[in-house]
Amino acid sequence: MNTKKWKSIGTVLGETNISEFYFSLKNYKAKKGDIITTESKVPSSEGKIEEVTVWGKISSIESTNVFFPTEAAQELTNENINIRDTILPTTRDELICKVIILGFTLKNNLKLMPLNYPVRPAAPVSYPSSEDVEALLISDLNSEHPLFIGSLLARDAVKIKIDADNLVSRHVSIFGMSGSGKTVMVRRIMDELLKKKYPMLVLDIHGDYLGFIQKQKKLYPKNEVKLFYPNLSVSSDDKEIIYTLIDKLGNSLTDPQKDFLSSLLEKVKYEGGSLLKYIELLVRKAREYASDSSKSFKNIRPASMYVVVRSLGQVAKKLKNMEQTNFRHRQKMSKLKFEELPDAATEPEKIINKGQLSILYLKGYENLPASAIVSILLENLFKHRQEVEEEIPPFLTIIEEAHNFIPSRSEDKDNLPSVDTIRKVITEGRKFGTGIMIISQRPSRLDETIASQCNSQIVFRMVNQKDQRATTRDSETLSVDDSKQLPNLANGQGIISGQVVNFSLPVQIKFDAELINDDIGNENFISAVENWDDKESVKQRKKFAKDFSNITSIDRRRAN
């Protein structure tokens, strides 16, 4: 590292401490988020004085022109005067940068160490070369498995890598508004992990990750990419989930009706398999009990039983509808091969395998059934990782639209079955290699316990203050200055903090254009309407509509 080649860009100001300092910046010589250095001296443990390079990150920049009085602006505006015509000063902007100290390095050693002695006021501030910044970041990350994700926001030439080991074991949260770059980030990570053959399971509600299937042969020939549609298969162990599903999806039941439902679940034996079939079995059995004049249920009136029958019928109808909706969506993507989700209890290796990416396409499913599917799936996979035999390798679960699966208590949805499952997996997952990545545009609507278990955060543009607060609340490493930056980030720009990096870094994520799902399109509805042509059936209806209308209008016997 040749520090002499670094350009001087400013001077350290007044009072300093070991965690931050301010410096006066030369015009246009650095930006917010830039990594800068200053030379300083620190006492070593042997009592010697060592010359060190202190590294810092510009966390904010303020510009003031103390020579420009406010009331002058008033006159310029009122009289429509161009400031450049007047004697008012225009070139005396003072740029003051706040720097968060990252640590110091010794000569010829790029290991970043915590600073324990304040930097020298009046010391020059330098702009290190991109190569040196990159070298520092890599050296400091000290990662066996670095993943390339993009470049430093303030400096395109500085490539940013994050630590894969921490990413897959310590859980990550990715937050940001819709369209801010979350999915781009996830695709980037998935791309890197696929190259490392790390198994992943993606819970995909919108089909954002179907591009991996389409491009599998071309981009990931050595990987297996599987696309599953949900199959609600249950066993007798899943009684609680089934009860919740029926209770929430059906009509609201009175206490005697609920008692009947619980007893029914106890009595009706089911070996395991499709949930729909199970419910249909329950309907039959319940009807039998009701018409049987309640020999088995002496305290429950047949009327109450029929209510449960109707409720069960309604649940079955809803589940069928959801299945059909999902089916219709799948049909639209006829080129893609969808497989029924294998039973995670008995065939987990079909879902989690070395080098395999499994995408569970959940489109069309309401929150509750989707939550039940995810809960049963994760519960089973987790069990397999807990067992001594370890039938499946460690894997990463990516949960898109996580607020659907792990809503906060204030959402009044905390009885979703997935909440407890994910809470368990995320708390104990580190030991068993079942890392979780949660992605959401509404962090304030997420379960706090689960969100706070994520040791790394990647945050994109976020305007909602409630969400900003939730983000900093759940993060130990995201500073207040970082959170102030969130509303101003552009698409694909995010702040990474936590254990996957050593200090928070504003990053421009690399955009993988080839990973976009070609079948979903780009939501360009205006063009869609411009190119719109009626379907054949609609054309036919329109063709005869006029004739039928004429009949109606001349039919004098028809009641008005």
């Binding site: 007044g14 103390v66 020579f67 009085p69 009331e71 002058a72 008033q74 006159e75 310029l76 009122n78 009289e79 429509n80 005067i81 161009n82 450049r84 015509d85 007047t86 004697i87 008012l88 000063p89 225009t90 070139t91 005396r92």
Partner: protein
């Protein structure tokens, strides 16, 4: 202003006059209090008549956008000085500097504006080796003399800064000084006021009296006079701008001129002067109610250093007072809600109206404060910031302690510690009661 009632109403609605009225209410006798309003109104009416008779009131034109578009090619220089006046016991640290703000609006960015720190002094006036003043035992109350020294240094620094610009042959269209173009030198004529060091004078006025820089030549009066004579020779117009006038030089001179012409009797002249003195009526007060926004009073030539006046009387410098140039004093009322500003120059203006309109335009850029914005800018630039004062105080305190420790005398050391830890008795340092923090 047509009648006395109008004038009275204007006085009532005028803040600075109201302040003066309150001051009178506190200090003056009840009789004086009662007719302050009547007297002020009557004096204003009389002065207004005289001003109109002498055709001294003029209307200035201000068309913001057009004015600046036409005048953007002009180069202006604004000068001001800043002093750190705080002191610590046993040493008198002085930080003083003068700054210049030079601006040519239509020049390219790099050449558009310059901030120059034209003169700087950092030192201890109690240090016999200080480079500003020769060491002298103070004859009277030390604070009083010390403050005089600091004022003297600031005045000379400001004047010398303008001289420097002249010597460097700067091509200014205007030069403005924050404050009077010629200060009253009377306070520096007292016995025992120290002379500047040879080093200081050589640096301030390199052309001055090179061969014989004796003590007399290095005295404030002579050095300042030399600086003023240089300023008078300037090719570009130089104006001193005073924010508020606490005296009545214009009105007194106006009355004096009319007395000299025989228009006012000696008796009326004297009695009116007495009234002005008794009621503490100043130029600012009267002109504030006489002038309309955008109006100016044409300058009068005024002698600032008056022989035989007060302490100069009997002083060794008394004869020198006549050598000082007279000053041309005028006023401009910038807006409706602030007192007119005083414009001073050593030479009569060649383009009075244009110059005054330029000053008006620069002041209109501060529409409420009503003062040339360039001087406001340079005032901020030259001001000694708090961190600088603090640093210099700390430095001298440490220096004192180090000297004491070096002496190895326990009494000296404990005395130094006592001096440094001594707190000024002030209401802010009063002991707190109860649990107050």
């Amino acid at each position: 202003m047509s009648n006395e009632t109008d004038i009275k109403n204007k006085i009532k609605s005028n803040s600075s006059l109201f302040t003066n009225f309150v001051k009178n209410a506190v200090s003056a006798s009840p009789k004086v209090q009662n007719n302050f309003l009547d007297v002020s109104a009557q004096v204003a009416l009389t002065i207004q008549k005289i001003l109109e008779d002498a055709d001294l009131i003029t209307n200035l034109e201000y068309k913001g956008k057009d004015f600046w578009s036409e005048n953007k090619c002009k180069t202006s220089c604004f000068v001001d000085g800043g002093v750190d006046k705080t002191s610590i016991i046993s040493s008198a640290p002085l930080s003083i500097r003068t700054g210049s703000y030079i601006v040519k609006p239509d020049a390219a960015d790099k050449n558009r504006e310059f901030f120059e720190e034209s003169m700087v002094f950092l030192g201890d006036l109690y240090d016999p080796k200080n480079e500003l003043y020769d060491f002298a035992e103070d004859d009277f109350d030390e604070d009083q003399m010390l403050n005089k020294k600091k004022d003297g240094a600031r005045i000379i620094f400001e004047a010398v800064t303008i001289v420097k610009h002249i010597l460097l042959n700067r091509k200014f269209d205007y030069c403005f000084l924050h404050g009077p173009i010629e200060a009253t030198v009377m306070p520096f004529t007292v016995m025992g006021f120290p002379t500047f060091t040879k080093f200081a004078v050589e640096n301030m006025l390199p052309f001055y009296n090179k061969n014989k820089l004796n003590a007399e030549a290095r005295h404030f009066i002579n050095v300042y006079l030399e600086a003023l004579n240089s300023i008078k020779k300037s090719k570009f117009p130089i104006y001193g701008i005073v924010e508020t006038s606490n005296s009545a030089p214009y009105i007194k001179n106006l009355l004096f001129n009319y007395k000299s012409k025989g228009t006012i009797s000696e008796k009326d002249f004297k009695s009116t002067l007495a009234t002005i003195k008794n009621y503490k009526i100043t130029d600012s007060h009267l002109l504030e109610i006489i002038l309309q926004s955008g109006q100016a009073i044409k300058p009068l030539e005024v002698k600032k250093q008056i022989k035989g006046f007060s302490v100069t009387s009997g002083s060794a410098w008394e004869e020198k007072m006549d050598s000082f140039p007279s000053v041309h004093i005028g006023y401009i009322k910038i807006n409706d809600h602030s007192a007119p500003i005083r414009i001073e120059s050593l030479n009569p203006s060649k383009n009075l109206i244009k110059d005054y309109e330029y000053i008006l335009a620069t002041a209109r850029l501060l529409p409420n404060y009503g003062f040339p914005v360039g001087l406001n800018v340079v005032d901020k630039f030259a001001k000694i910031p708090n961190w600088m004062s603090k640093a210099s105080r700390k430095y001298y305190a440490t220096h004192l302690l180090k000297q004491a420790i070096r002496s190895k005398d326990q009494n000296t050391i404990s005395l130094a510690v006592k001096i440094l830890s001594k707190k000024v008795r002030s209401w802010r340092n009063r002991p707190l009661g109860g649990l107050a923090r």
